[in-house]
Point group: C2
Chain length 451, copies 2
Amino acid sequence: MAKVAPRTLSGFMELLPRDQMKMERMMSILRESYSLYGFTPLDTPIIESSEVLLAKGGGETEKQIYRFTKGDSDLSLRFDLTVPLAKYVAGHYSDLSFPFRRFQIGKVYRGERAQRGRFREFYQADIDVIGDGKLDIVNEAEIPSIIYNTFTKLGLSRFKIRVNNRKLLNGFYSMNGMSEKAGEIMRTVDKLDKIGAEKVKLLLIDEVKMLPCKAENVLDFMAITGSNAEVIEGLERYRGMDATFDQGLDELITVAKYLEAFGVPEENFAIDLTIARGLDYYTGTVYETIMTDHPEIGSVCSGGRYDNLAEYYTDKQLPGVGISIGLTRLFYVLNEQNLLSDDIITAPCDVLVIPMTDDLSYAVSSATALRAAGLRTQLYCEKKKFKAKMNYADKIGVPFVVFVGEDEISEGVLSVKNMVSGEQTKLTPAEAASQIGAYVCQRSSAAVIKE
Amino acid sequence: MAKVAPRTLSGFMELLPRDQMKMERMMSILRESYSLYGFTPLDTPIIESSEVLLAKGGGETEKQIYRFTKGDSDLSLRFDLTVPLAKYVAGHYSDLSFPFRRFQIGKVYRGERAQRGRFREFYQADIDVIGDGKLDIVNEAEIPSIIYNTFTKLGLSRFKIRVNNRKLLNGFYSMNGMSEKAGEIMRTVDKLDKIGAEKVKLLLIDEVKMLPCKAENVLDFMAITGSNAEVIEGLERYRGMDATFDQGLDELITVAKYLEAFGVPEENFAIDLTIARGLDYYTGTVYETIMTDHPEIGSVCSGGRYDNLAEYYTDKQLPGVGISIGLTRLFYVLNEQNLLSDDIITAPCDVLVIPMTDDLSYAVSSATALRAAGLRTQLYCEKKKFKAKMNYADKIGVPFVVFVGEDEISEGVLSVKNMVSGEQTKLTPAEAASQIGAYVCQRSSAAVIKE
């Protein structure tokens, strides 16, 4: 029979078992961490009506969309988790309690040009808090705590949550009479990290066509750095000139004030006036997260406050704040840079039971007992030579092998081999479960990202 | 602005938060249960090349497929998890260790005619063990244990795993010279439960055109019921007449022999010679699982042994055994029949912290402490009247509310209200965490399905 090559489409991540285990661990940490903050899991369809999904319309996104017809229906695959959330909240408004806090970890689709590290199918891991009409600033102050907790649990300590407030920026541009050029200015200022202040100043003068003194003003403002207290002190000098600016400053002060109570060390946090996160969507606090030793990866967790989640679906004013982790890309980059740890057990099982007798009853009972003790247990009963069996154990990377032969059966014990140390001991099934369990428990708490 | 109605496509399940929590619980039990047997989690793309996905071609499935083009690519959405597994195993053959045991819980797509309880996007939860060339019968004997463990953990005790062996059937038809009519006979025998033996006999004679004595033979065979020992005794009378039959009988005896060692009570297991599970795919043991009190739901977990997983992609002989749970449909039916329990906590959080002062530092620190103790904690800081706050707590169904006012701050305690009993006590943060934690832990072990 002619065979079809079993290929996977380019731009679609398909992991081998060991890597998949690491990915699963990351997802499970995200679920756990998001849940700890009272976010409820949500699952929405991957396919939506094009009319619904593209209600906002236009832009780069629409070109990338997977859109097709089925029967009479014009359908599209979701390209993010925010639009489906807007649809969900507008559609189920009367069934939800506000603030509505949800997390969603799901695949989204964008038909980007295929290139290394770019994915057409990828996971996003989002949280959002949606208010009904209003939403207290504390929800914005809480976000850094969620980011801190999540990345700490993933194994990182060297990362920085950068925070800014769009009201500060908008207020500043307004008080300088630059509101119309705000977009251009922000895009130029975004290059500060890469090209430095002098070149940004030239660009502001030559390309954005600003007066040198105004360009100077912008750079002076962006140069306000230091500890939270120092930055806030620097910003206080602008107070009283623009109501929006003052509100943004108050919000920023609130966010900084509760950091410690939220358990976020100041070294993992920085007010950074240069970040803006897109032009028209965010309206308050904005967030970026940078791995300190790997700034080249870019922001691994970003988001912000917005005023109107679902304006295309409802007249209700639904402000919110949310963050998103581009999980597939993060996983890919960490893996590429060899930053994923091998400390967690990535074998499909914790213990492999190898019977050495024809009658398997005792081996099967032993496996059943190990499973009852919570150990991931595989029976290996294929008719192979001993060496092939041990080779299998090595290849899957299982930490323990249990041999069950005539001796073990008559003594009512198990021969337990630690595959790392090579040590082999006879233990009762209960002892074996307890020893293996202790080892597994210790490995389970290992970090999935290494620094 | 004109609004787009935020509708969800028909045939696509989108749950409200409480139901979603139950669904998540079911998925988490499946993941845990499958992992306990040494299956590794797998995730494959939802979109595949049509050439790959439809390599087998033909049949009802192809008409239902979501197929479309993007650029030059002819793409399809997966309609099950078996074809992607075949592609995966064939494509990554040299990177895998055999037997390869994987589970996958993922969405699949079938454009069926929309009707109540029929889904176009639905979760399947599959496990498969794939051998390289050969696969020991113990893998087939283990499957009932996995089904038993999974449904027990979901909360059921009144269910029956029905098992048959295709070699028994094929051998029986062969020894009676009925092999050519085997398909028709099996389809007719499938109606035994519904229309009874007499009517099946008439159908076999009138429609399948069998001699009365042969129809009698079939019905005599299907009437072999009773305990495992009784059925096997009944089948032993046919031994020696057909090699395939004898092999099937030996396999069935092995499956039955290890049941007890695998921890499966005989009351949850029945050899049932009437089940066949489709015509051409399965070649050995086949499985169905029926909820004893709800036979109308049909099989909630089915599968069997097959000889050639990936023949469209590779020359390698890859036999396997697997089962599948149609999770979305199962959830839907259980929910419809009011069989989902409210015993687990379905609120987005275990405890809601309501600050009663302007400065939130103590409330925030308390929430941070409760989270550090593993409790899903939500801060509620919206500016609302007390009654509205309590109303919110009621609506989300949170089991505990913590009040933080001036008194609590000065005494260094929390006022903890049990929302079920109405009882309110002042506790230190550590006491609060421990008391709430104990309650949550107990609720967490509750079953998600009720009987």
